[in-house]
Symmetry: C2
Subunit: 439 residues, 2 copies
Amino acid sequence: MPTQFDPPSGTRDFLAADWETRENAFARIRSVFARYGFEPLVTPAFERLDVLLGKYGDDGDKLIFKILRRGEHEGTGEADLALRYDHTVPLARVAAAYGSQLPTPYKRYAIGPVWRADRPGRGRYREFTQCDLDTLGTTSVMADAEVICAVHDVLAELGLSGFQFLLNSRRVLAGLLEAFGVPDELGPGVLITLDKLDKLAPGEVIAELTGRGLPEAQAASLVGALTAGDAVEQISDALKGSDEGAAGLDEVDALLSVVGGQVPGDRVVFAPRLVRGLSYYTGPIWEVAAAGGAGSLAGGGRYDHLIEQLGGPDVPATGGSLGMERILLLLPQEGTGHTRLDVAVTIMDELHAPRSFAFAAAARDAGLRASVYLGSSGKLGRQLKWASDTGARWALIYGNAEEEAAAVTVRDMTSGEQTAVPLSGLSDYLADLAARPAG
Amino acid sequence: MPTQFDPPSGTRDFLAADWETRENAFARIRSVFARYGFEPLVTPAFERLDVLLGKYGDDGDKLIFKILRRGEHEGTGEADLALRYDHTVPLARVAAAYGSQLPTPYKRYAIGPVWRADRPGRGRYREFTQCDLDTLGTTSVMADAEVICAVHDVLAELGLSGFQFLLNSRRVLAGLLEAFGVPDELGPGVLITLDKLDKLAPGEVIAELTGRGLPEAQAASLVGALTAGDAVEQISDALKGSDEGAAGLDEVDALLSVVGGQVPGDRVVFAPRLVRGLSYYTGPIWEVAAAGGAGSLAGGGRYDHLIEQLGGPDVPATGGSLGMERILLLLPQEGTGHTRLDVAVTIMDELHAPRSFAFAAAARDAGLRASVYLGSSGKLGRQLKWASDTGARWALIYGNAEEEAAAVTVRDMTSGEQTAVPLSGLSDYLADLAARPAG
């Protein structure tokens, strides 16, 4: 397509077939969330600039699309509004604004576009759908379990398989640092490095840890424990010496026992190496690894102070986010299923047009998608070509011959078979067609 | 709510109940459009600024939310993108971009937010949903008829009544000016004044027409014909002397005959006074008047050159737009129907939590909305209060007594009646509950 008609860089136009695939997925997701008692929340596309700025540091601020002031203020070149960057900052604002009107706990989901001025690339867009679910106002580990199970059910409902939930707790990580004698001031940096264990060789991670100031023997024993064949046992043993670590292990055990009862046994595992980059997590954290190491499909955790940091009330919270654009790419292809019509109605001449229009209406009354021919050709061949292009299963033909016989010719577009249906019986006939399974 | 937590001026947060009302309406509308063979089209929230600017004159440009350039260019205070103002300019861009990939004719609908920096007021928002359907690529009056019938079916499907389609044609108006001897150069101004016949007295309209340079006798005879009790007959007679007027009348007659066959007789009338302000219409025009003169619910018409003027290819087009925010206000209230759960499951202590969680999962498997209690109270009364707050129809209670009896207590939240259901029979029992009609 010529450049000047492209959608803006990093955005997409969704024509019918693509949109329907997405909407089907979203409808299934909404249905799973609703079964868990999560409610929809829809906030405006833009927020006041001060609501968005400074919430995710300078790097976050750079990705914000800012909206210019209007009217006499346009010339200042200043912005006062900005497109939402995620669904979490608006959630914090809503929690502050509607406080007591919201149920306690407040379980909400948000599915909708967010905008980030990132460099566009394969699978990375500037307008993309983010799909979040969060529970505010409870510290219960059952809330974490609900989020994890809902995300599991969504992935299963969408037809994905082979994925695995990796489960950990920030308290396990804190206990780990304590158990291996990592000085407090090195803790955050050590976690950032440990997060690379999936990408770097153990030796490289040890080198980076020593570079951060951790004595080599400590670094080696920490990395050794985390990468051992029996890492879970080694780590669990080590954690028993730390209050925080023991509490973290209890959290993980509680989650495994509740979630493990609901999902197939191998789909959720304790992963003591899982760090997740975001510093705001405070309790359980989890990530869904796609089959074959194709990256992460979803992730989340408990973030008991973030809502307050984002400008909301001081409420505990836990939640998760689905990587929708990646998930949509993995969905089983539903074939070439997209058609525009079930019934295509010819218009042989102006005189018969009102009748043809009424036949299309009768087909719609029967629940079928139907339209009359809107082109200028009076030739049956051209009109049947159009009918075929729409993917219609049947064509209704009505001209002089049919008028004389007080009948409509119904053509099966697959077999080419034609049936003369008396006008008086057309509604029943259409109802029968509507009841036939597709394909 | 404190001002600083408000959504930005002219925008709204939609909590669950409000959103569900809207979504139900949109789902019904999409279903009607699909039955007519209209396809969804979803374009990005923003377009390149040059795509949007200058399309609806200076007044239009003033209402555009512009997005500041990013990174090193932010300091220039210049904009390069802007939020979409309507669905028609993006449609023109899409028609240019995907030309031959689109079906002919291209019948599409668009339901989604648009943004205008208008002064917010009662029922007037800066972010609001626009709902358009348009057919590109055909001059057939059947395409106009389809749009009108689809809009009619939407309004009927939404439960509205008492509305009326006012039907006219720009060619009727052109013929009218010709028949009453209005000089060409006065034509556009005269139409603008005639558009006020609903608000001003005939004498005031005549005065304004003479102010525009029309001789008083002509102005009086024009206004007299349009406001007469038998206006339709008088105008029809007058038009017969004009080729353009006769062609317009034929158009209106064809529409009345096709549409009139599908909708109740009094719901569509010829309204020779209908002008509709927008100068881009070229053929049939129509408007839906709400019951009791509460304004217009929808409007549209044929605009055979607009797509080209907006930067698209030179294709004929016809379409319509539903005033969704106004329509949503008129919808029959569905009662206080919003509930969050069907089944609320107590958690009496940590020991019983996994079991309770499994009961909630079983209820979801039966298709019910279910959640466990996420609060910190171990008291049954508090937990039943929560169950009641969620609107749940049933509570499931499982504690020591139930464990000993290998049963679950199912409490009917309306009657307070309690039933002990053996664990082995719980799935079947929940399936029975799921099959019971609500309320």
